[in-house]
């Protein structure tokens, strides 16, 4: 398992004070702030727990029975030098507090504290800690060469993909990228583009399965005014827009047979015409295609042209599914965690061991995209600083069974899928109706009706 995922701490605060009333009132206040709090009444107990558990911040009273605050501080610094310690001091002992600062305390607070001062101080300490972690992470990714453009991976097979990208990028040839949905085919195409001689030009992507045939034709080639009923204006197609750059044909296996023929001609002649046009336009863009389909099988079935396949498949890159490179999961999970906790401005800093274990055994049919969505959702739902298994929208028992009882992948009616999906969301949220209805994008009463209709049970 990835080393960098370990020895990370959960946002917890330790309070060391011999006065019960201080421990309780500070703990109560900080709990309402959402932190998880541990309190102890002596330096000895503090050292004992610190040597076993990890904290993001320690509040340490200067005056303690037994070993005093200053000595406790020195010992804490020996055990965990990076753990921030804030001294709590009474009015009479400011000099000692200054001494503590010299010994490595990050700050001190005079009892009683101003509430705004306390909250500012905690925020300052915790954000600078988060920033340190992020810097450390960036340095590690660069050092370990686990980042290539916007792709992140350390597994052997993905390192192989990075090498292929570097080799093919400077060439002009057509590239065919294969892999399941969510494996990052477009990111690979973009990486090729940004390492090619055409990097200053545009990168234009088009999903070949997104439009019916006639629209597709005009999307790709553009049209002249009056070419068909709705063609009120002349319009440039994606091939023209990609002029000087790269065109990315996603889901190329979905192209209609007629479009396949058109495309083949374009690739052979390096020219194309707008729909309804007679002026040839020369093709000046690199073509990268991608598919999650088995094109060789499609050729055998007669739905994909073999000649087009060979035109596209001059150089091919296959992206392995996430389940075949599980060593990348912790790395990717952490990357998305950083991204989303920054975007949502939430202090979610790590993933619990249990949650990570769950991610490692799950088989991720939706690949990296599914992982990304799962982390985004978990960051949003998560109430503490750590993602726990219940924050993840995955459960291993159910979701890994992608095949029917006879071992084949069954095609199911929409209703059945709706029923199963609602059940899954309900189970994943522990039958939290509000949350489930928000996830499903329907209101609570509709959800109740569907639960009744499908006779779903907790």
């Amino acid at each position: 398992m990835n080393k960098t995922m370990e020895n990370k701490t959960c946002a917890r605060i330790l309070i060391v004070d011999d006065e019960l009333i201080i421990r309780e009132s500070l703990a109560g206040w900080l709990k309402r702030d959402g932190y998880s709090i541990v309190t102890v009444e002596s330096g000895e107990k503090a050292l004992e727990i610190i040597s076993k558990e990890s904290f993001d911040l320690v509040f340490l009273d200067i005056k303690l029975e037994g070993i005093d605050g200053i000595e406790t501080l020195s010992k804490i610094r020996e055990i965990v030098p990076e753990m921030p310690v804030v001294m709590i001091t009474a009015y009479g002992s400011i000099n000692t507090a200054v001494e503590a600062m010299k010994k490595g305390a990050v700050d001190y607070l005079l009892k009683p504290f101003e509430p705004d001062e306390l909250s500012l101080l905690i925020e300052k300490i915790l954000t600078s800690k988060a920033r340190d972690l992020e810097n450390l992470y960036l340095k590690e990714t660069i050092k370990d060469r686990i980042r290539f453009d916007r792709l992140i991976a350390q597994s052997k097979n993905m390192q192989g993909v990075f090498d292929l990208i570097k080799r093919v990028a400077p060439l002009e040839c057509t590239v065919l990228i294969t892999g399941e949905t969510g494996t990052g085919k477009e990111l690979v195409a973009r990486a090729i583009h940004s390492h090619s001689q055409r990097r200053e030009g545009p990168f234009v992507a088009i999903n070949c399965g997104a439009f019916p045939e006639q629209l597709m034709e005009s999307e790709i080639f553009g049209h002249e005014r009056g070419a068909f009923t709705d063609a009120k204006e002349q319009r440039r197609g994606k091939l023209e827009l990609a002029n000087g750059g790269t065109i990315f044909l996603d889901e190329v296996g979905e192209l209609s047979f007629k479009m396949q023929v058109n495309f083949l001609r374009v690739l052979e002649e390096k020219l194309f015409y707008r729909v309804g046009g007679s002026r040839p336009i020369s093709l000046d863009c690199r073509v990268i295609a991608a598919t999650n389909r088995d094109l060789k099988k499609a050729i055998r079935e007669g739905i994909f042209r073999e000649d087009l396949f060979y035109r596209l498949n001059v150089f091919s890159i296959h992206l392995p599914p996430l389940r075949e490179r599980k060593e990348d999961i912790p790395l990717l999970a952490r990357h998305f965690l950083m991204k989303f906790s920054k975007e949502t401005n939430k202090h979610v800093e790590n993933i619990s061991r249990d949650a990570l274990d769950l991610m490692m055994i799950y088989d991720w049919p939706g690949n990296v995209r599914e992982l990304k969505n799962a982390i985004e959702r978990a960051v949003v739902i998560c109430r503490g600083s750590q993602i726990r298994p219940q924050d993840l929208p995955i459960s291993v028992g159910e979701s890994n069974k992608r095949e029917g009882p006879d071992g084949s992948t069954k095609l199911l009616p929409l209703k059945e899928i709706e029923k199963r999906y609602i059940k899954q969301v309900l189970d994943d949220t522990n039958w939290n109706i509000s949350l489930s209805s928000k996830v499903l994008g329907i209101d609570r009463s509709t959800l109740y009706k569907k639960i009744k209709k499908y006779n779903l049970k907790h």
Binding site: S25, W29, P115, S119, H347, N432, I433, K438
Partner: protein, 181 residues
């Protein structure tokens, strides 16, 4: 049909010099939480929580008494005082609540308007509503929220209080509604 007793939040004003905001507050709480509100008298005064040395009232002690004395039929109890409140570790608090508990208290002491102009008075009652919903939010297990516009955001200054909305953000609301259902 069987009559289901509707849950109710008891509001306990304690010797307020100015109680002009009370009816508005009851209405806002009812609207925001979807729970009935009612004026009740659990505590007549809070002198038992007075601290000689600090000249303030110890809010945690008051919460214990509120929780102990409020009849079970009340889902929550919110006390309102114009005295200044404190907890031992802090110089003052605007209010306090038992996290995931039953009792909450707010003080109008530091929310007072600068003058009696209608605009300042509006601000004053809106601050009270925000603090009341914030503390009640804590009793439903909500912790502070990073969304600056959310009721559950912890405000360091009155200005921040004035800037936040009288609304729970999407996530706080979701969590709250789950507790309330």
């Amino acid at each position: 049909m069987e009559k289901i007793p509707s849950p109710c939040i008891g509001i306990n004003p304690i010797k307020l010099k100015d109680s002009s905001f009370l009816q508005g507050l009851l209405k806002e709480i009812k609207n925001s939480l979807g729970v009935q509100t009612k004026i009740i008298t659990v505590l007549n005064d809070i002198e038992f929580a007075y601290h000689e040395g600090r000249g303030q009232y110890y809010s945690t002690r008051i919460l214990e008494e509120l929780n102990r004395l409020t009849p079970d039929k009340y889902l929550r109890v919110l006390a309102i005082t114009d005295k200044d409140l404190f907890i031992p570790i802090l110089t003052y608090v605007y209010g306090e609540a038992q996290l995931d508990g039953r009792a909450a208290i707010i003080s109008t002491n530091r929310l007072m308007p600068q003058n009696r102009s209608p605009k300042e008075l509006m601000k004053f009652s809106s601050r009270i509503i925000k603090e009341a919903l914030h503390e009640l939010g804590h009793t439903f297990g909500l912790t502070h929220c990073r969304d600056k516009r959310c009721i559950m955001h912890y405000c360091r200054t009155l200005r921040e209080v004035d800037e936040k909305q009288t609304k729970f953000c999407f996530f706080c609301e979701t969590l709250l509604m789950d507790k309330l259902k």
